[in-house]
Amino acid sequence: MNRSMIIYVLGTVFKLEGFFLLIPVLCSLLYREQEGLPFLITGVISLGIGFLASFRKPDNHAFFLREGCVTTALSWILLSVVGSVPFVLTGEIPSFLNALFETVSGFTTTGASILTDVESMSHTALLWRSFTHWIGGMGVLVFLLAVIPLTGGGTINLMRAESPGPSVGKLVPKIRYTARILYSIYLFLTVIMLVLLLLFGMPLFDAICTALGTAGTGGFGIKNDSIAGYSSAIQWLVTVFMILFGVNFNAFYFLTLREFKKALSLEEVRAYFAIILCAVIVITLNIAGSFRSIFAAITAAAFQVGSIITTTGFSTVDFDQWPSLSKGILVLLMLIGACAGSTGGGIKVSRILFLGKSMHHQVFSYIHPKSVRSFKMDGHSIDEETHRGIQSYFAAYLLIFIISVLPLLAEGCDLVTGFTAVAATFNNIGPGLAAVGPTQNFASLGILSKWVLIFDMLAGRLELYPLLVLFSPSLWKELI
């Protein structure tokens, strides 16, 4: 295990977070808020630690998958702990556990909040909350790869551990430029959305926070009723952008290369849009009766579907009041999640697509036991390793899911609340149903439940294994 390299990268993460923390400080200066000072202090300390830890460039540059996993998991934990300090210092979220929950929820782009009254928060804190979504969406280590000159092949392991999806590939030969392309597309889309929101009449601060929250598919609103208070034009705009940020970024890359055919032929992206379309139609028909016009029903259905499948978690209506069929579909969408290689969470459409094909394959083999068929995705056959990886991922996913529900039930949640609270955090969505529904929040949960959900959010964002590696005793023997 290459400890000096891990420390170096962690130090760089501290440095980056120090810079990020200065952004809310600027905001506090504009709004003349007192809350800027704790952010400044935390930022400077974080920068200091970062410079100390990354002062000396390590001589040994060996960097393998285990180093990648450990670095990624530790980075995210440290990032969250440091990011939660200002909330405690300003006194806006006095309990450390609650502050940590809120920050983890921010970085993992979950958007599950323990705040009972969001509107009473300072602008500074609200901006920081939304900004954590943005940086967590594409990933802090991908950002690091884009800006810090770490050359070499081992670095792919950082990206592999942080980026969602069953197989992480490069767009161009050098990882640095791959990371830059991803962040450029990300930034470009965010800015476009911001401009459109402003054109549609949203106030500047609201527009910035909403754009950051949508881009990262996070879902922290800055109003108690999330997006419900804005015009339906804005709601549609947010719907479209949520869905766009749930698309595999490879598709956007192909678009920038003007390879429209390639972008449209990505199986995952097509399945993703098909699922959205079906869900919107069914839910619209199911809820139409309780709306004044069919258009209002479509608006509500599309927004909720877009918000849940991309794991954003904004809401315009209290879908907890919807009929059971619609609620059931939404829970299903929670599990499916967005495309691999997007900023969304969940199991990912590509894995679902793959499991579906695998099932079909199995049924077929009952009819023709000796048949030989290879799995294909986008015309390329999937190798045995990825195959096994997806299946074991699914098994581990279910296991962690079920085990996580138990502590919540033990602390007095009802079954629906417990189940959807885990579904909403493990898949990085935000709101669940019943006591954690869109008009409720996570403040009332017990201490153990909150710790479990914090773990679930991180495990969901990093796709289980990088975080699980930290629990392996053989790793700690090497690390210490």
Binding site: P149, T151, G153, P173, I175
Partner: protein, 466 residues
């Protein structure tokens, strides 16, 4: 791996290269070309091999048949600058290059090593529009035969179209150089030669006037081809080509080497295990003596007079066997031994064994391609590097530049040029005549100039200026 390189070449736009085949030569190329900062895409049929390489190097990997145009398109042939085909099969390599060349007009380099094609290499290259054909076995054979004509040297590299040589020697006990400085030797001897670099305890220095030679130093000097024997004898090292050579293993390298040696009137004996191969060799090399038997058998070697042979070259397919045979030969005879090592790994172990002359065919191939890639990167039209060679474990680069136009280095006496440290101008080749420059000499348009330096990534003669 994870590195922080600060090469000169970083400032220039990277070359987009596609490498087909990730065998030993392919991976060696990936290693050197990524170190130079180029954008590499690797194509191979074997998914696990591609994954291994993409894990280790910052490159993109594609699984598929490199000769298929679709796969080439996936790899980005549309805006690639260079395609290098180094798969196992010559035919596939040529096909890869032809496809890339004819459909997308991208520069191509193919490895072609079968003797049948190698005699037609130039014809093939021109007709198929390739930029270069590489043949590691042939380059290795040429290098070995150069060593056998100058057996006192550890390594011999040719420059200026063969007119000048760079020779590496080890200072043994009793060498007249020991205890002298570079400047003192130059005063007492007027041989047309120039010391370039010295390795001591695994550290390499560029020669300067007050450098004091010690026993065990590995010294590199440049001299004229004609006078290399004379220079060596002044340094107390036996000169004169060997008269006979015993080769173990009758593979492609052995064939090329035997052909080369026979042309230089050195008699050749080849021991080969496989009867069929023996028959082929005796047909192809009628003047050589072909022995059917196991070359790793001590008694057979004794029978075939290893003790008295003047040169011994083990060329079996296995590095381990070659190294053992070398050690054995060093023990029982005083023959000049050259060891060919195919693998890259365990280089430090091999170095510590004191095998004498060791040849890495992969490096030889890589050098030619680096030279081409750097020249391509500098300017797509003119080729400013004539020859490039890396010495001392890639710590030192010897580059011969052609000077095609007026610039800041031309017309000014060399002593007035502000050169970078750790750099030496070794010779100027003017109209086919090799000059060892003094402070008053100038570089002129039309010259080719050879520079030895520990800096990496020079691609233009102007890079020598501070």
């Amino acid at each position: 791996m994870f590195g922080f390189n600060h090469h000169n070449i970083r400032s220039k736009p990277p070359l987009k290269c596609i490498i087909v085949g990730s065998g030993k030569v392919g991976s060696a190329l990936v290693d050197v070309l990524t170190k130079e900062g180029n954008d590499i895409t690797l194509i191979d049929q074997d998914p696990s091999r591609v994954e291994e390489m993409t894990d280790y190097y910052d490159i993109m990997g594609i699984v598929g048949n490199g000769a298929s145009f679709h796969v080439q398109q996936d790899a980005g042939i549309d805006d690639a600058d260079l395609l290098i085909a180094v798969t196992e099969s010559d035919e596939l390599n040529l096909l890869c290059c032809t496809v890339a060349n004819q459909v997308r007009n991208c520069s191509t380099i193919a490895r072609v090593r079968t003797p049948d094609y190698s005699v037609e290499a130039n014809f093939l290259r021109e007709r198929l529009g390739l930029a270069m054909i590489i043949n590691p076995e042939l380059s290795a054979a040429r290098e070995i035969s150069r060593l056998l004509t100058l057996p006192g040297a550890l390594e011999v590299t040719r420059f200026a179209h063969g007119q000048a040589q760079l020779v590496r020697i080890k200072l043994m006990h009793g060498s007249p150089l020991i205890g002298m400085t570079v400047a003192e030797y130059a005063q007492t001897h007027t041989d047309p030669m120039l010391f370039c670099a010295i390795e001591r305890n695994d550290k390499v220095a560029i020669a300067s006037g007050n450098f004091l030679f010690r026993e065990g130093d590995i010294v590199a000097f440049v001299c004229e081809y004609k006078s290399s024997g004379l220079c060596l004898s002044h340094l107390g090292i036996a000169s004169g080509a060997v008269k006979n050579c015993l080769i173990v293993g009758g593979g492609r390298s052995a064939y090329y080497l035997a052909k080369n040696l026979l042309a230089n009137h050195i008699s050749v004996k080849i021991i080969e295990r496989d009867m069929k191969r023996c028959e082929f060799l005796s047909e192809a090399l009628p003047e050589a003596l072909i022995i059917h038997g196991d070359g790793t058998d001590e008694s057979l070697l004794y029978e075939e007079e290893l003790e008295t042979t003047e040169a011994f070259v083990p060329l079996t397919g296995m590095d381990e066997e070659n190294i053992i045979l070398t050690l054995h030969a060093k023990q029982v005879s005083s023959a000049k031994v050259v060891t060919k090592v195919n693998r890259f790994s365990f280089k430090d172990v091999i170095r510590s064994l004191d095998l004498g002359s060791v040849i890495y065919p992969r490096y030889l191939t890589a050098e030619a391609i680096i030279a081409y890639a750097r020249a391509r990167r500098e300017s797509l039209a003119s080729n400013k590097i004539v020859t490039l060679s890396q010495l001392y474990d890639q710590q030192v680069e010897c580059i011969e530049f052609s000077v095609d136009e007026q610039s800041r280095v031309t017309g000014t006496p060399i002593r007035e040029l502000r050169l970078k440290p750790d750099l030496i101008i070794t010779f100027i080749n003017r109209h086919g005549k090799v000059l060892f420059p003094l402070g008053n000499d100038t570089i002129e348009v039309g010259d080719s100039v050879m520079v030895v330096t520990t800096h990496k990534g020079f691609s233009d003669i102007l890079d020598i200026l501070a």
